[in-house]
C-alpha cells in the first residue's frame, strides 16, 4: 500500500537511539503495508551516518548542507515538507523528542497530513494506521485512528520499540539530493549546546538510589528522606517535579531530560512513574516503589510495590535500621 519514511535524528556526531528504534518498527510496518523503507537524513556531514543507516533501510535520502548540521525548525521543516509533497510517503515517522515535537506539528500544517504523537504502538486497520497512545500521564491507553488521507505523520515514543542487536538488513542505496535552492533564511539559529546535568554528586555511579517524586509534597520533607538515604548508605535522586520546583538541583534528576541510572537498587518514593522517568531506570536492578496511588504507573515497572504513604514507610524503615 505505501512506503514508510523515517526522519533520522542525530546530535553531536551520533545517531540518536530513537532513530534505530523507529527503523526497527518501520521495517515491520513495511511488511504490514507492503512498502519500502526510506530514511531521511539531514546533516552537515552525512557520510558516516548514511552508511550506518543504509544497513537498516532500503534507501537513505541524504541532504547534506552546513545549515543542516543541527536541527533547525525552519530548514528541516521546509526540506522534509518538500520530500513528503513530492514523494507522498504513506507513513512518516519522527521521534517524540524535543526536536520531533518541534518538527512534526509544523509538517502536519504544511503538508495537510494528520499527525498522532507520542505513539507506543502502530498497527493497521482497514488499510490505515491505528496508533496506541497513553493519556492522563500514562494512566489510560487510547487507540487513535486518522481522518482518511494520502499520508500520515506519527511521532514515536523513545523506548517503545527496542531493536535486537542484529537488526541490520541487506544494505540499502544511498541517494544524495541537493537542499532546495530556494530554502528560506532561517529565523532561528543555533548558538550552542549546554550540559545541564553536572554537579557535586554523580547519580549514575550509585549502586543504591533513594529517589523522591512529587509525592514528597514539600521541600521541608526532603530532609527526612535524605536522612533515611544517608542511614542506608544510599544516594538521593529524584524525578522531574522535584527539580521543577527547585527543591533539588538538576544533577539529582533521573529520566529522559535528566540522567539514565543503573543502580542495583532503586527505591522510588512518591514517584508516579511518568514514562520520561521510567525511561531513566530501565538499567536498574531491583526497583521498589512506594506510592499512595495503587494505580500509579510506577507499579507496572517496579519489582516490589508498597501502596502506602511514603513518610509512614520511611519512618518505619528508619526504626528498623541499626
Amino acid at each position: 500500500m505505501g512506503d514508510i519514511y523515517v526522519v533520522a535524528e542525530h546530535r553531536k556526531g551520533e545517531i540518536r537511539d530513537i532513530t534505530f528504534e523507529m527503523l526497527f518498527k518501520a521495517r515491520e510496518l513495511c511488511q504490514t503495508f507492503s512498502g519500502r523503507l526510506t530514511v531521511l537524513l539531514l546533516a552537515g556531514k552525512a557520510s558516516g551516518f548514511a552508511d550506518e543507516l543504509a544497513k537498516r533501510a532500503d534507501r537513505v535520502l541524504v541532504f547534506e548542507d552546513d545549515r543542516l548540521e543541527t536541527f533547525n525548525s525552519d530548514l528541516y521543516k521546509e526540506t522534509v515538507s518538500r520530500v513528503i509533497q513530492e514523494e507522498q510517503p504513506f507513513l512518516t515517522l519522527m521521534g517524540h523528542t524535543s526536536w520531533g515535537m518541534d518538527l512534526a506539528p509544523a509538517l502536519s500544517i504544511t503538508t495537510g497530513l494528520p499527525l498522532a504523537t507520542d505513539c507506543v504502538d502502530i498497527r493497521e486497520s482497514g488499510g490505515r494506521p491505528v496508533v496506541i497512545r497513553q493519556i492522563y500521564s500514562g494512566k489510560v491507553f487510547s487507540r487513535v485512528s486518522f481522518k482518511e488521507s494520502p499520508g500520515y505523520l506519527i511521532t514515536v515514543r523513545s523506548g517503545a520499540f527496542l531493536p535486537p542487536e542484529d537488526a541490520e538488513t541487506t544494505p540499502g542505496e544511498i541517494e544524495r539530493r541537493d537542499v532546495p535552492a530556494d530554502l528560506p533564511e532561517a529565523r532561528r539559529t543555533f548558538v550552542q549546546f549546554v550540559e545541564t546535568g553536572a554537579g557535586e554528586i554523580d547519580i549514575t555511579q550509585a549502586d543504591f538510589l533513594v529517589s523522591i517524586g512529587r509525592g514528597v509534597g514539600e521541600e521541608e520533607n526532603i530532609a527526612v528522606i535524605r536522612e533515611l538515604a544517608d542511614k542506608m548508605g544510599a544516594t538521593l535522586s529524584c524525578s522531574r517535579p522535584v527539580v521543577d520546583r527547585n527543591w533539588l538541583p538538576k544533577f539529582h534528576q533521573v529520566g529522559t531530560s535528566g540522567k539514565s541510572v543503573r543502580p542495583k537498587i532503586y527505591l522510588a518514593l512518591g514517584i508516579s512513574g511518568a514514562f520520561q522517568h521510567v525511561a531513566g531506570i530501565t538499567g536498574a536492578g531491583t526497583v521498589i516503589a512506594v506510592n499512595k496511588d495503587r494505580k500509579a504507573p510506577i507499579f507496572r515497572v517496579a519489582d516490589y510495590g508498597v501502596a502506602d504513604d511514603l513518610f509512614k514507610v520511611a519512618e518505619a524503615l528508619k526504626q528498623q535500621l541499626p
Binding site: 532561528r188 550552542q192 519489582d303
Partner: protein
Amino acid sequence: MNIIVCIKRVPMTQEVDLEIDDVGKGVKKEALAYVINDWDNYCIEEAVRLQEAFGGSVTAITIGNEDDEEVLRRALAMGADKAVRVDPGVRELDGFVISRILAKVIGGMDYDLILTGVQADDDNSGVVGIMLAESLGLSHAAVVTGIEPKDATAKVRVELEGGMDEVSQINLPSLLTIQTGINEPRYVSIMGIRKAGKKELTVVPLEDLGLSDEDLTLRTLIEEVYLPPETAGAEMIEGDPASVAAQLVKILKEKGVNL
C-alpha cells in the same frame, strides 16, 4: 512586549482511580477536580515576568465552557491584563482544530510572543503550540526552558534529552512552547482571583470566527480508551508500615545492601 498565552483547564488525575465512561472514548469526569494545566501555569508566570521586565500586555486565551473561565481568572490574578474565552459549544476538538481556532482568534491581535505549554496533562499530545505557530507563519521553538528577549530577537533555551540544552537565537514574533520548571509560578490567593474579576474577559462564540469546515474537521479520532492491562507488575507488599518496612529490609539485605 505584548504576549499571548494559550491555556487550558484539565482534570486532576494524580492519586485518583480513573474509570472509563460508558461510551468507552473518555474517562468519567464527574467526580474529578479541575486545575490549570501544569505547563500552562509556567507559561502565565513567564509571560507576566517578561511583561514586568519589558512592559507591554499579557492576554490569556482558553477554549472551553464557563467553568473553564477559572483558569482565565487565575491568569488575570497572576498579572495578565485581559482574557478571552472561545466557547466551542458541544463541538468535539482535537489538537489540529484547537490550533485553527486559536489562529483565527489571535490572527488579528498585536503580539511579539505567543506562549503555550509543551503539552496538556489530559491528552499529552503536545501539538497545539507548534501547529498554531505554523498556521500563523511564526518562528517557533518547542520545550523551552529559558527566554531572554533582546530587541527583535530572543535567546531561547530548549531542553533536549539526556541532560543537554540547546541555546538558539530566534526572530520575533515567535511562538514558544514552555516546559515545566522554567520559573517558579507565583502563589495565587482566592482574594487575588476575586480582585481580578474586574479585568476584561471577553467570550467569543466559535460560530463568530468564520472557520471553514476543513478547519473544524478532526484529523485524529479516538476509537477507544482503556485502562492498562493488569498483567505484569510489582509484587505488592501489604501490611502495616512496620511489617512492610521489615520486609523491605529483608529484600534490601537479600539484594546485597549492607544495612
